[in-house]
Symmetry: C2
Subunit: 204 residues, 2 copies
DNA sequence: TTGCAAAACGGACCCACGGTCCATATCTTT
DNA sequence: AAAGATATGGACCGTGGGTCCGTTTTGCAA
């Protein structure tokens, strides 16, 4: 696990430089997979060795970037005002949470994409940012009376905000941001609506 | 587009051989990304050149395999008896459709996985087997009165059956097949249930 | 049959990219 | 200031997808 902090100032400076350079590269629209590690290193004015020592591997860099961009959202969720923060009625919070995820993916398309299929061996489901979202969502869902299978439901709802789906709808299909938010909100509403009898009706 | 049929018998024989070998390799559980093209060629007793001439590239091979395995399902859907085939009440058919997709992914885990992140440049959403499922699902959803946004809903429902999610739940988390089918069925039911007021209640 | 062009074969080869190595440079500490 | 510790960077490596091309097979026709 080659990711512990160093106290040497050059190391710190370089780490920042890499992060900044990568951030810039991933914002400058381009399919994420043709940004190579060498590109990032060059853009940061740093050798590849440095880059890899600082972040371990490609996934590590992506993760670090992602966490950094996610930070404000995380804070808004954990200690912010309603409807995102705690102390919001569950239904509304679920809606707000998913809306926030959607907006985040809309704003950080290429990066989110890159992270999700950084796959190599790891499914996106092992990433701990996913586990955080899922855990929180599940917990909130659990407070809604009459809703069973919160665990699965949380996964299914999050699946509707997968980066590649969002990218496809926004990019290929040209669906505008607000429209997509409405559609997702509508979908979430349906899932949360107190249906007649949720479980049981499986015929086989 | 190097994928048209050849009439020469050696070409045909080899194509079959490759398909069979690949099928075997992808069934013999192993993460799909450590089955290389060279492996497939070797297993089929064929040179790499042959393999690539027959299928164009890795994605092409995967696609061909996938379509082949999907064939029976497709047939059951298009011309089979209820609840999968046509002439089924929309609600039931949607449920059956998604159940079929789920089962397919459960049965063909590694292959589906491999195909979905064969990404390179293409999102899974550009694949035409996806478009088929989505188109059909949307059409069926459209027949359900009071259901808006069928297009998005179809995407969202299919997202709940993404190969990596299914793999994660079945593998990592050890959720048994039947349980997962129930959960998905429950989820679908919620989405289809005639909620109080489907649209509109977006507070922001 | 045999002759011959068209088509397919296969495996050596190429190259891009993630990742490692290590001689050298930079820091920190006393 | 000297030494031990730590970081640097770019040459280098392995892997795997994809290509090339001299050789072989096939199918048609004479």
């Amino acid at each position: 696990m080659p990711e512990r902090q160093s106290s040497r100032k050059d190391a710190i400076r370089n780490r920042e430089a890499v992060l900044a350079a990568a951030d810039a590269l991933f914002s400058r629209r381009a399919s994420p997979e043709d940004i190579t590690m060498a590109d990032v290193a060059a853009a940061a004015g740093v050798g590849k060795g440095t880059l890899f020592r600082a972040f371990g591997d490609r996934a590590g860099l992506l993760r670090a970037l992602y966490e950094a961009r996610l930070e404000p959202v995380r804070e808004a969720v954990e200690t912010g005002p309603p409807p995102l923060g705690p102390g919001t009625p569950p239904q509304d919070r679920v809606r707000a949470l998913l809306d926030a995820v959607l907006c985040f993916k809309l704003d950080n398309g290429p990066l989110a994409l890159a992270l999700e299929d950084s796959g190599s061996d790891s499914s996106p489901y092992r990433a701990d940012h996913y586990e955080r979202w899922h855990g929180l969502l599940r917990a909130v869902l659990e407070q809604i009376p009459g809703l069973t299978d919160s665990d699965f439901t949380a996964h299914a709802l999050l699946a509707a905000t997968r980066a590649d789906l969002v990218e496809h709808l926004a990019g290929e299909r040209g669906i505008p941001r607000e429209r997509m938010r409405e559609q997702l909100a509508g979908f979430v509403a349906k899932v949360l609506a107190p249906g007649p009898r949720p479980g049981g009706t499986v015929d086989e």
